[in-house]
């Protein structure tokens, strides 16, 4: 049930509030944005238009009036009471007038005459236009779906003007039946020729917004036409964690970037002074130093390089409360890290690990890479992957010398072995521990002992990784990722074999 889901927006707000000096960053996190009114969500993009047949039938109001009339007549007849029979007069009048004043658009002979006389014609076919303010958005971000109805068949058909004229005489009522995992933000029923329903999705994934039922009432509200259609599916991205600093390797590949390397180069940051040699640029001469030493001295600058970052997400186990599970935290952390490293002009790739199999995306640059990475993350779910095998990944997926940031609860032994293997192959690894739950336990001795053993095993796993030189940083999902990464972002991470 949706009520079992935690309040993600509240958690995100808490996350932003818990980070001092991140006021500007809070505005970057989509989930922190306050709930906007429906009108402030902006115009919607057209998604699709459907031609649907209308199923006309007597309305509930008509059935009630008919019941009143029939009951009054029958009871009046049985009891020979003409006053009671007279009660049937007004409902019969209403029913009769509605019938006389209505024709069907599908009829050929009577339709035009009925329209000329000003009577309403039932459209047999309506076109429903659907639009969404976004087809892809982050968790907790408000969105809206617009629906509008037009009467008539395909464009250019001779019936269209007649049907348009007829549809104007009908009242439309829209009722939204939200899909699974969709939280409506407004009323789920609204009247009018067009309507806007706001909603939000508290947890990432591919979601169906739901179904909308359109009810058309005639002038006397005695016949109603029902149309039910499905709203389009949307992709809900995990809300990226806040990360404003990056871990930089000490040994960077020879590729232009924005990180200061240890070797001299053509960067902008001052590195030191050396003696002038023929071929040096004149503008690099340091005149005060040359005057002091009596020989020409030139300034040297640090090279600026970029690095390859591979985000490794362990999707083998999804433990914890829905919305705050290890997989949720892993995906949010990976999305935040991808954005941070791509901001720093690094090449970022992603590998999602599932029971030995993987989905991977080769490191690359650019804004689109964020969306590509998140699309790969969205395919992560607990289950068996049909992609590549982790131990046989190509160099494109895991370039040598790249920084590997793993998000894992470290519950799968094979994944831990894979981490050890990667470390022994010389990769610089950082493990973000996203395990934020413990096995439920009663106060029985056996449960307490089992829990203690489990904790010792977990501690041993983390200790063994640290002994190999792999930092294991616990992260609760609420604080920014900068906090656990702080010891490694202040200075370059030394690459050791």
């Amino acid at each position: 049930m949706s009520s079992a889901l935690p309040n993600v927006r509240g958690r995100l707000s808490q996350r932003a509030a818990a980070s001092p000096g991140l006021g500007a960053a809070a505005a970057d996190v989509p989930g922190v944005a306050e709930t906007k009114p429906a009108a402030n969500l902006g115009a919607s993009s057209h998604v699709k238009t459907e031609e649907v047949a209308v199923d006309w039938r007597p309305s509930r109001h008509a059935r009630r009036l008919l019941t009143l009339a029939a009951a009054a007549l029958l009871i009046g007849l049985i009891t020979r009471n003409p006053a009671v029979a007279g009660v049937a007069g007004p409902p019969l009048l209403l029913l009769g007038m509605s019938r006389l004043g209505t024709g069907r658009a599908a009829g050929t002979g009577r339709k035009d005459a009925a329209v000329r006389q000003g009577a309403s014609v039932r459209p047999e076919l309506v076109s429903v236009r659907m639009g969404l303010t976004a087809t892809r958005f982050y968790e907790g971000e408000p969105a809206a779906v617009d629906v509008a109805v037009h009467a008539g068949g395909p464009a250019g058909a001779p019936e269209a003007p007649v049907a348009d004229k007829a549809a104007a005489g009908y009242d439309a009522r829209w009722m939204l039946e939200p899909g699974k995992g969709i939280e409506p933000g407004s009323a789920t029923a609204v009247n009018g020729q067009a309507a806007r329903f706001t909603f939000e999705i508290p947890r990432w994934g591919k979601r169906y917004v739901g179904t909308v039922t359109l009810i058309l009432h005639d002038r006397w509200r005695l016949t109603e036409g029902r149309v039910t259609f499905d709203l389009p599916a949307v992709d809900c991205y995990p809300a990226p964690a806040v990360q404003r600093t990056e871990v930089v390797l000490s040994k960077l590949p020879n590729r232009l970037g924005e990180h200061r390397a240890r070797v001299p180069g053509d960067g902008a940051e001052f590195n030191g002074i050396r003696e002038f040699v023929p071929g040096d640029r004149q503008r690099a001469i340091n005149w005060p130093a040359s005057t002091r030493r009596g020989r020409l001295q030139v300034n040297t600058f640090a090279a600026e390089r970029s690095q390859d970052v591979v985000l490794l997400v362990d999707a083998t186990s999804d433990v914890g409360r829905p919305g705050e599970s290890a997989l949720d935290l892993g995906l949010r952390g990976a999305a935040g890290a991808a954005r941070a490293y791509l901001n720093a002009r690094d090449r970022v790739g992603v590998i999602t690990y599932q029971w030995g199999g993987v989905h991977w995306l080769a490191p690359s640059l650019g804004r689109r890479q964020v969306y590509k990475i998140i699309d790969v993350l969205l395919t992560a779910d607990t289950g068996y992957a049909r992609g590549a095998i982790f131990s046989r990944l190509p160099r494109a997926a895991l370039p040598p010398g790249s920084l590997v940031v793993a998000f894992s609860p470290l519950l799968d032994g094979r994944f831990v072995e894979s981490l050890r293997d990667m470390r022994e192959r010389g990769f610089s690894l950082i493990v973000v521990d996203v395990l934020n739950t413990v096995p439920p336990g009663r106060r029985l001795f056996a449960d307490v002992a089992a829990r203690r053993i489990w904790r010792m095993e977990q501690d041993a796993i983390r200790f063994s990784l640290r002994e190999l030189g792999v930092p294991v940083l616990p992260w609760d999902g609420a604080a920014p990722l900068d906090l656990p990464l702080a010891p490694y972002t202040r200075r370059p991470l030394v690459t050791r074999r």
Partner: protein, 225 residues
Amino acid sequence: MTATPPQAGPVTPSGDTPGQAVKPQATARPAPARPRAGIASAVGSRLAALLLGVACVVWTATPLPHTGLAKTALVIAIIAVTAGALRLATADIPQPEDQFFLPAYLQAWLSFLFLLRTLAWEETAVVAILWLEVQHPARPWPTAALGAALLAYLLTTHIAESGADAGPLLRRHAKLLIAGACLLAIGAGFAMIPAGGPGAGSAVLRVIAAAAVIVAAALVLPGSS
């Protein structure tokens, strides 16, 4: 070379610039749905429906006759009016997505809601009230007033459940409602005229009633013409 870093904010499909959504082609402007107000929304029309139902029951139950299952009809009318009002009051409560493994009290509540939304409470109330009315000795004008009140009750119930604007709807119905009131008055006046003989009036009434039912059914059923 400076490139635009990835910005936070709404994600747009590849190639789309954020904030450049396609302008809707709909001629009608989408009406933003009002904020969720739950049971409190449309409370006026729902309360009016309840009050009209109660008024109909009170009007026809005073004085309470003691013949022909009058008490049973009264109890049924009270239950039906109350249940109809509860149905309107709980119309905004959504059904849960999954109805498996729910606790007993939630299952009982859902069954209660299902019962409220399935049965025809207003129709039951109308029949019970009319049956209660005929237990009285003939009183043409109070019966005509009851007919008007029952019509108002049904109309208000429809307004409450469909969320329609009462003003335009009643303006549209005004001429017909006036004509209906005239019909009621004529019917009451006709009832005050004593019948010529013991069998002639009732025979005519039988014929008129049967014809009216047939005509009404033919007019209302869709596709019959």
